[in-house]
Subunit: 700 residues, 2 copies
């Protein structure tokens, strides 16, 4: 269904020339209006007749070239409709419907003889638009000075936001009206290993709620070969504007045509649950080009990690502070005796993983260089192939494989991305040689090439190079401290998960607020799965270090529920073996819970307050329910109508104990079984920062 | 011979604490005086009692750390003497004497508990000093904000200088007193493909002459893992100060101890000829670690090059301006018909090389990507392995080898150094596969990683990585647009030559002054051999392009003499085949002249005016004499006393014709033979910008 129009000038009145065109969503709830006013392109978006985005300018400023902001004529216009379904390799649902109406507008700038295209896709759950730069005589290469896409909001919305930054998303969320951002901005961040705050900018996914109860989520999709986006906020007009991450010289992107920008996405609904259910961002990504994907599998794992994060053991093998890789002879250094990744300890984890049905064991701190890996802008910081003397890579992999378990490789780059690119092929060959099928990458610290940022174009391309190179070796990638995901797991399904937000590790650093995991699904997770690493049973760290004030601000049961509410096909049980052995009945839920799904139901959700979801395990008649709450205790009615009414079910319910409280009594829980049907309704109490986790199987 | 002293405080008077120590050159002509005055280190240098360098401060400013400028105590002092000889793999002489007295001063900074060492070596022909940073608890990592080494000159010397720049040395030399630099500075440069002028700074090697006729040359030796140096000039006090090249963030160097700076070198003599004869810079470099060097051989070559430089043919195969490597299908593009590197043309060059005894043929423009290689900051600009459709890499190499000739690989990086590092191993494997043994690299344009400079630390390390990687593949490197050489060909003899100055190509661009090649040996060539690409017989380009004003500002004979005066073990005969065929008698000199030498005699030289040298071919009883002059005709007396007096010799003398003139009659020459002995003296006239070239063999 394709229509072509050739326009001269649509309308002329009062010396203002206006071309305009409207497309609606398949269900007609959404209406996108495109206008060319005095040769300047604008768009706006309505939801059920209510303005979501008011007339907002589109365009780009270029370096040393005339801008792509104005002086346009309409050259061509195309409308199409698409309605298809596709199956993600791994996902929250088995089948995704991709249904939209599309408007493509070709804009010609007579003064420069250049043509660009702006493409809009209106789905039932939102809008995506992007710029396209066709190859043409007068537009082969250009440098982006700034993308100036606006999102003119229709009021002083409530926002769940983190401050603009070029290097990290690892902040707590601030909840405020947009007009309050100026006074709160400087309180919205703490220190990070690498950070470049962008004043009065907000990061995406940005979650908003209008006074009329309209939920709006703004982000980007298919971020490829282009700088990552922040949003400049005008706290008086509530206009947001794209703010691309600059490179070392302040440039925002080097473009060779043909090229297209990422999609700018606006997910909209009057139900918060619909935001979580939206597949708009995935739909705006390209289908995967991988012919074979059977090597991409969900992973539930344990690992040598939390003990280092909280300070019980070390990544480093010695206490030296000056390592020259390939020169320093570790056999002549004194071991510090605290090295976590030692043979016996790793074998214990392998045994534990095998016994409890985990797929894999992550081991951090296995390779030479951890003594001085951080804070020195050291370019040759790891070689990614040389184990410490007490890590027998062959023996441990052989041992793991003999037990049906795989090791997960850890490649911390220390943000020396340039060094990682020199070594990654060798590193992946080593993984192939020893039978690793997944790598956790890390980008802690400031980027090398120096002056680049975690979200500048060069690094976006770097993350892509890593995923491409890993794919050649059939290796799955779990990237930490990388850019906000933008749905690329559709196209590159081996990019199985990412961190790219404040994860569980912060519970051992500065702490995560009780509402943190209630916001993340509405923000960070809109772009893709997060390796949040839940499962901490021993939430209070004074258990290890008497007097230590640090603690994970949830109940134990809430940690269980996170396996359902924090979608990821790669999920860690992050706590120590000894803690799982102390609570074997609660641990059963982690053993049972799926990580890849046929279906997902967002039962109840409000950002930062509560989330209740049910998910059906991939290929099995098993459901798992997870409910979590913020610092407020809460009773939720769980309606099991999602269950097949023709079948009988038995639910194992993991609930907060009556006296449970994330501060006073986090380990109080109660487990019981109950027969249920699709008609069952359960009034379930959740403790302050508590939760509920339910596994549901067919009754025999 | 090693003496150790422990000092408290050497002398205390008038509340100024002074430690001082003097060492002299082996012949006592030079005297270096080190002082610690009020805890600040200074050095000075005298030549035969005349001050060369007055008391000059030493030290470094660090980023975010206390400086290494003051607050020092003497901790230890060491004096040694060395007298040894060594044989360069390729060189101007067969054996080099390395003879110096050394002072090592260990400086302790009590406030920071850090120790550094300054090492001085005094040779008969000059001084070298460097900083050493031993590994120690309080000095493992630091960032250099600036090195502040001074060279306080003793007067308003005459200087042969090019302006400070972070990216290019491709300038004409300006000759002026130092006090005149301010008024001349902005006239001292023209445009370059990549340039970052450093106001009121001068580049090294910097050639100076005092009013008393003392010749002084300042440069650096063994530039490894450290930013390249300019010299800030104070035009009133005549104090020069090191000015390191910054990276994208303005930092001058990331240092991990143990580490040492390059040597700062001062070559001094009252004879200009001694400056050219000095081996001080080579001596300050480390001996090669290559166990086997027989794959490193001198190379005389022709090539497909000058025709593109002057505009007769093109590097590119098509006139497209938008190439996506690996995507663009060249078979579907229209060839432009001007591509130089085509099979037939290269075969003609191979035939010509074989017939005339050349070792190799350089071919530029053989690989895909030349259509849009420059000016777009295009990162993936070449893959270095994919030939154009009309360049049959296997056939041409087979053909060349069948005739005893090798092809020289050309890897223009377009300064996308990061891309070259991704591909160089594959590129060198391709060279090995097809039998290339040398590569010409190029760095035209601004560096990627963006913000780095041609002389910033990262790029210095890059050039080193290239040479190291090439060595693994037994490939010789001829680097163009790289940093000023600093004698590293001693340590890495496969770094056979470099351009790194304004070469013959500029005769087709902006033009080189008649005195240009009279200055280069005193400046650029102090650091190592230059691939100047002499041998242009058809100096006037209106021969090809009627009305074209461009011309090479020398006589034909001066072009011959350059093969002797511009030392390089890699020498091109740069002109077109047709021009050598027009002047076969003159071309005979190029065919005969050696490129590797047993001995060199600097007979007469004054920077920018005249040079007369004699060199003995390696392993042969053959001498070659080259004499050149600036725009002034000149008569030189050539004293053949360098010849073995027990033998009789026959000289073939290539002289400017009586009516020769670089403007009016450049191709006028006269060739004759003459029997000579060691007692012969020849009064030889050189035309304006003319020369004389003499080949001398044993009389049968």
């Amino acid at each position: 269904m394709r229509r072509n129009f050739i326009f001269f000038l649509a309308v002329i009145f009062w010396s203002v020339s206006v071309f305009s065109q409207t497309i609606t969503s398949p269900n007609n709830n959404l209406s996108m209006h495109f206008q060319l006013v005095d040769s300047v392109p604008y768009y706006s978006l309505d939801y059920k007749g209510t303005p979501v985005i008011k007339a907002s300018r589109l365009g780009l400023e270029l370096e040393k070239l005339p801008s792509l902001m104005n002086g346009f004529e309409i050259k061509d216009e195309t409308q199409t409709t698409k309605d298809e379904t596709w199956n993600p390799v791994l996902g929250e649902v088995k089948t995704i419907r991709n249904h939209y109406n599309e408007l493509g507008v070709e804009l010609y700038q007579p003064s420069t003889q250049r043509t660009i295209r702006i493409r809009f896709r209106v789905f039932d759950d939102g809008l995506g638009f992007r710029y396209e730069f066709p190859e043409q005589p007068n537009l082969n290469y250009f440098v982006i000075k700034d993308e100036e896409s606006e999102f003119a909001l229709n009021g002083d919305h409530k926002a769940w936001w983190i401050p603009g930054d070029y290097d990290t998303e690892e902040y707590e969320y601030t909840i405020s009206n947009l007009s309050e951002v100026p006074k709160l901005f400087d309180h919205s961040y703490d220190q990070n290993a690498s950070q470049t705050i962008v004043p009065m900018a907000l990061q995406t996914p940005l979650m908003l709620e209008s006074k009329q109860g309209l939920f709006i989520n703004i982000h980007e999709a298919a971020l490829i070969d282009y700088a990552g986006m922040n949003l400049d906020l005008n706290p008086k007009t509530f206009v947001l504007k794209t703010h691309l991450t600059p490179d070392a010289q302040g440039m925002k992107g080097y473009i060779q045509t043909p090229m297209r920008s990422p999609w700018r996405t606006i997910v909209v609904s009057d139900r918060a649950e619909d935001i979580l259910a939206s597949k708009l961002i995935l739909n705006l990504n390209e289908p995967t080009k991988y012919a074979i994907t059977d090597w991409i599998k969900p992973v539930k794992y344990v690992g040598v990690w939390w003990e280092m994060i909280m300070g019980k053991s070390t990544w480093s093998y010695t206490n030296s502070n000056n390592i020259h890789l390939g020169v320093t002879d570790y056999s002549k250094l004194k071991p510090n005796g605290t090295h976590g990744a030692n043979n016996q300890h790793v074998k214990d984890y392998i045994d534990f993983a095998a016994k409890n049905g985990f797929d894999a064991v992550l081991v951090e701190g296995w390779d030479e260089g951890w003594e001085d890996w951080f804070g020195h802008s050291k370019e040759y910081v790891f070689d990614f192939v040389t184990p410490y003397p007490d890590f027998d890579i062959k023996m441990l992999n052989d041992y793991a494989h003999s037990k049906g378990v795989k090791l997960i490789m850890h490649n911390e780059t220390s943000s020396s991305a340039i060094n990682y690119e020199r070594h990654f092929d060798t590193a992946y060959k080593l993984m192939n040689h020893f039978g690793y099928d997944a790598v956790k990458t890390g980008y802690v610290g400031n980027i090398i090439p120096r002056g680049e940022h975690h979200y500048s174009q060069w690094m976006i391309e770097h993350y892509q190079r890593v995923v491409d190179q890993a794919a050649k070796h059939k290796v799955m990638v779990d990237s930490h401290e990388s850019v906000h995901p933008t749905g690329l797991s559709r196209t590159y399904p081996n990019w199985i998960a990412a961190e790219a937000a404040r994860g569980t590790e912060y519970d051992a650093f500065g702490g995560n607020n009780p509402n943190h995991t209630l916001v993340l699904p509405f923000t960070r997770l809109m772009g893709g799965p997060m390796d949040y690493t839940p499962g901490i049973f021993q939430t209070k760290l004074d258990y290890y270090f008497p007097g230590d004030k640090r603690f994970v601000k949830t109940t134990l049961v809430k940690q269980l529920a996170l396996y359902v509410t924090m979608y990821s096909p790669l999920q860690m049980a992050a706590d120590l073996i000894e803690n799982y052995e102390r609570f074997p009945d609660a641990f059963q839920f982690i053993k049972d819970v799926a990580v890849d799904w046929d279906d997902t139901k967002i039962l109840k959700a409000y950002p930062g307050e509560y989330i209740l979801e049910a998910r059906k395990a991939k290929g099995k008649d098993e459901w798992f329910v997870g409910g979590i709450t913020d610092e407020h205790a809460r009773t939720m009615t769980i309606d099991f109508s999602f269950l097949d009414p023709s079948k009988k079910w038995i639910a194992t319910i993991y609930e907060d104990g009556k006296d449970a409280d994330y501060i006073k009594n986090p380990q109080s829980y109660h487990i019981y079984q109950k027969k249920i049907t699709s008609k069952t309704k359960l009034n379930q109490r959740l403790a302050p920062s508590g939760g509920v986790a339910i596994s549901i199987k067919l009754a025999e």
